[in-house]
C-alpha cells in the first residue's frame, strides 16, 4: 500500500510464490498417490494417473541423446516429458529458472526446512560453507549433469532414478524407490537445516541445465545503483547467496528467479531491484 509515494506495508517475501509452490507440491503429490492407487485398482477422479517419470521435464533432457540417435525414448520416459522439457526451456529463456523458484516440489520442501534453520541459526543460517569452497562446489552440479547424461546415453535406462531425491520424495511408499534415492533425500533434508536448498546449489542436474539461461534470459534481476542504499538486504535474503548488492544485473548461474531480492519483497527502496527487460539507472 502506498501513501504520498511511500509504502506503508512492505511484504518481506513474495507470498504468491509460496501459494504457487504449495499448488505444485500438492499437485505432484496427488498425482503420485493417484498413480499408486490406479496400479492397485483405485484412483482419484479427474486427476492425471501418469507416473512421475512422465511428468519430469528433466526426463526429456536425459533422453535427448537417445531420441536423436535412434528415435526412441529412454525406458519409462514418454512424450509428455519431452513437452514439459520444452515448456521448461521456454519459461527459462524468458524468466530464468522459474521452475526451480516457483514450481519444483523438491526446492519447495528444502525451503520449508530452511524456515526451521532460520529460526535456529538466525543470520548465521545459510552462511556455514566457507565462501571459497562454496564457489567451487557450486559447479559440482554440472559434473552430476554430465554423469547423468553419459550413463543414460550409454545404458538407455533411467539410472538416475535410483539416486534421484525428487523421485524418492514422491515414491517412498512404493516398491519402485531405491535406497540410494532415499539416502540422498534424507541427506538433502538434514542439510537444509543449515544451508538453503543444498541439493539445488550443489547437485541438481536439472537446476544446472536451467541455470545456464541466467546468462541470456529475457527478464533479468537488475539493481538501480542510483537509488540503492547498499544495505545488502537483497544479498542476505537471497536463498542462493548471490551478491545482488554488488552487481547491476544478476547473471549468476544459480539464480532461481524467486524475486525475493526485489523491491517487491526485501529491498527497502521502491523500484531499485527489479525484474525487467529494460535498463535501470
Amino acid at each position: 500500500m502506498k501513501i504520498f509515494g511511500k509504502r506503508l506495508f512492505r511484504p518481506r517475501s513474495i507470498w504468491i510464490r509460496k501459494i504457487v509452490q504449495w499448488f505444485f507440491f500438492l499437485l505432484i503429490a496427488l498425482i503420485s498417490i493417484n498413480h499408486t492407487l490406479i496400479e492397485n485398482g483405485g484412483g482419484i477422479p479427474f486427476l492425471s494417473t501418469a507416473s512421475l517419470h512422465a511428468l519430469c521435464p528433466f526426463g526429456g533432457v536425459v533422453t535427448i541423446y537417445q531420441y536423436a540417435a535412434v528415435g526412441t525414448f529412454v525406458q519409462k520416459i514418454h512424450e509428455s516429458a519431452f513437452v514439459l522439457m520444452i515448456i521448461g526451456f521456454a519459461l527459462a529463456f524468458l524468466f530464468g529458472p522459474v521452475f526451480c523458484g516457483w514450481a519444483c516440489p523438491l526446492g519447495t520442501v528444502q525451503e520449508w526446512i530452511a524456515k526451521l534453520g532460520r529460526k535456529f541459526f538466525k543470520r548465521r543460517y545459510n552462511q556455514f560453507v566457507p565462501a571459497r569452497l562454496d564457489k567451487v562446489l557450486r559447479y559440482l552440479r554440472y559434473l552430476v549433469l554430465a554423469w547423468v547424461i553419459y550413463v543414460t546415453a550409454t545404458s538407455g535406462t533411467l539410472i538416475f532414478a535410483v539416486y534421484d531425491p525428487y523421485f524418492a520424495l514422491f515414491n517412498f511408499w512404493t516398491s519402485e524407490v531405491a535406497i540410494g534415492g532415499l539416502i540422498i533425500l534424507s541427506a538433502t533434508l538434514v542439510l537444509s537445516v543449515f544451508i538453503e536448498r543444498p541439493w539445488c546449489k550443489y547437485a541438481c542436474p536439472y537446476g544446472a541445465v536451467l541455470g545456464i539461461t541466467n546468462l541470456f534470459r529475457v527478464f533479468q534481476i537488475k539493481r538501480a545503483e542510483s537509488t540503492c542504499k547498499a544495505d545488502g538486504a537483497c544479498s542476505i535474503m537471497c536463498p542462493m547467496n548471490i551478491p545482488v548488492d554488488k552487481v547491476k544485473t544478476v547473471r549468476d548461474h544459480q539464480c532461481i528467479s524467486c524475486l525475493e531480492c526485489t523491491s517487491e519483497a526485501v529491498c527497502p527502496v521502491a523500484q531499485t531491484v527489479v525484474f525487467t527487460t529494460g535498463a535501470v539507472k
Binding site: I14, I16, R17, I19, V20, I38, E39, N40, G41, S48, T49, A50, S51, A54, L55, Q66, A69, V70, T72, Q75, K76, H78, E79, S80, V83, L84, I86, I87, A90, L91, L94, F95, V98, W102, A103, A153, T154, S155, G156, T157, A161, S175, E176, F219, L259, T262, E264, V274, F275, T276, T277, G278
Partner: protein
C-alpha cells in the same frame, strides 16, 4: 518492461498449462506408451491386433480392449484371483509362476490369445500354458497341429488350482517392481546395450541375429520387427548366450 510477482505467476500458469492443453489437443502429450498392439498388415487377418506384439506392461484389461477376451477369462486361464482382473499386469505372471519349472509369462499370454481368437502365431519356440488355460482353449476350434503343441506345452496350474477351472487362489497383493534391473532376462524393452552390459559380445549378438547390430540403445524387439526377424526366436537364442556369461 518490468514484471512483478503476480503477472509472473499468471504467465507461468498460462505458459505451462496452456502448453500442456495445446499439446494434449494435438495428441503430443502422451504420459504412457500406447497399450495397443500393432495390427497384421497383410493376409486374411489384416487390420486385426497381432498377439505377437503383446507386451509385459499390458494388463488383462488392455488385452480385453484389443482382443475382446474378457479379463475374467484371462484370470481364469492363468489362475489369478483378484477383485479386478482388468488391472492385472501380465508381467506379474513371471513372479506368480516363479516356482514353475517352465516359464509362464508374456509369451504364454500371446499363445493363449492367439489360440483363443484363432490368430496366427509362430509356434517354433517353446511357450507354456497352465492347465486351466489349456482346458479353455480345447473348447475352441484348434487345428491338430495346435492341439499337439498345446498338449506338449501344458504345465500344472500353480499349487491349489490344479484340478479346477475356477479361478485359483493365487492372491495378487502388490505389483512387481517395474525395473527388475538385476535379473538378466531379455524382454520386449531390453536394448542391445543391456545385453552387451551382461557380457555378451557384439560378435555373438550379430552371429545370433545374422545381421549387423544397430545402435546399442535400440530395443531388440523393435529391431527384430524392423528386420522382420522373429523376436521370440532371437530372444531365446540371445537368452542362452546371456545365461552362458552369467
Amino acid at each position: 518492461m518490468t514484471l512483478t510477482s503476480k503477472p509472473l505467476a499468471a504467465l507461468i500458469f498460462i505458459i505451462l498449462f496452456g502448453g500442456i492443453a495445446f499439446t494434449t489437443a494435438m495428441g503430443w502429450f502422451a504420459t504412457e506408451s500406447t497399450k495397443e498392439p500393432t495390427t497384421f498388415t497383410e493376409g486374411e487377418f489384416a487390420g486385426l491386433a497381432n498377439p505377437a506384439d503383446i507386451r509385459g506392461s499390458y494388463t488383462f484389461g488392455d488385452i480385453e480392449k484389443s482382443f475382446g477376451i474378457p479379463s475374467a477369462i484371462l484370470a481364469q486361464a492363468f489362475s489369478i484371483q483378484t477383485n479386478d482382473p482388468a488391472f492385472f499386469a501380465i508381467k506379474e505372471l513371471e513372479v506368480i509362476y516363479a516356482a514353475s519349472e517352465f516359464e509362464v509369462g508374456t509369451a504364454s499370454v500371446k499363445l493363449f490369445v492367439a489360440l483363443y481368437n484363432g490368430l496366427p502365431l509362430d509356434l517354433s519356440t517353446d511357450m507354456s500354458l497352465p492347465e486351466n488355460a489349456a482346458a479353455l482353449l480345447k473348447e475352441k476350434n484348434l487345428t491338430p497341429e495346435q492341439l499337439a503343441y498345446l498338449d506338449s506345452h501344458t504345465i500344472p496350474n500353480p499349487a491349489a488350482a490344479s484340478d479346477s477351472l475356477e479361478p485359483a487362489p493365487v492372491q495378487v497383493t502388490e505389483s512387481a517392481p517395474e525395473s527388475a534391473s538385476t535379473e538378466q532376462l531379455i524382454k520386449g524393452k531390453t536394448t542391445f546395450q543391456e545385453v552387451l552390459d551382461w557380457g555378451v559380445t557384439q560378435e555373438t549378438i550379430e552371429q545370433v541375429m545374422g545381421v549387423p547390430m544397430p545402435n546399442p540403445l535400440t530395443k531388440i524387439k523393435d529391431y527384430c520387427l524392423e528386420k522382420r526377424l522373429d523376436f521370440e526366436i532371437i530372444k531365446t537364442a540371445l537368452q542362452v548366450e546371456a545365461d552362458k556369461v552369467k
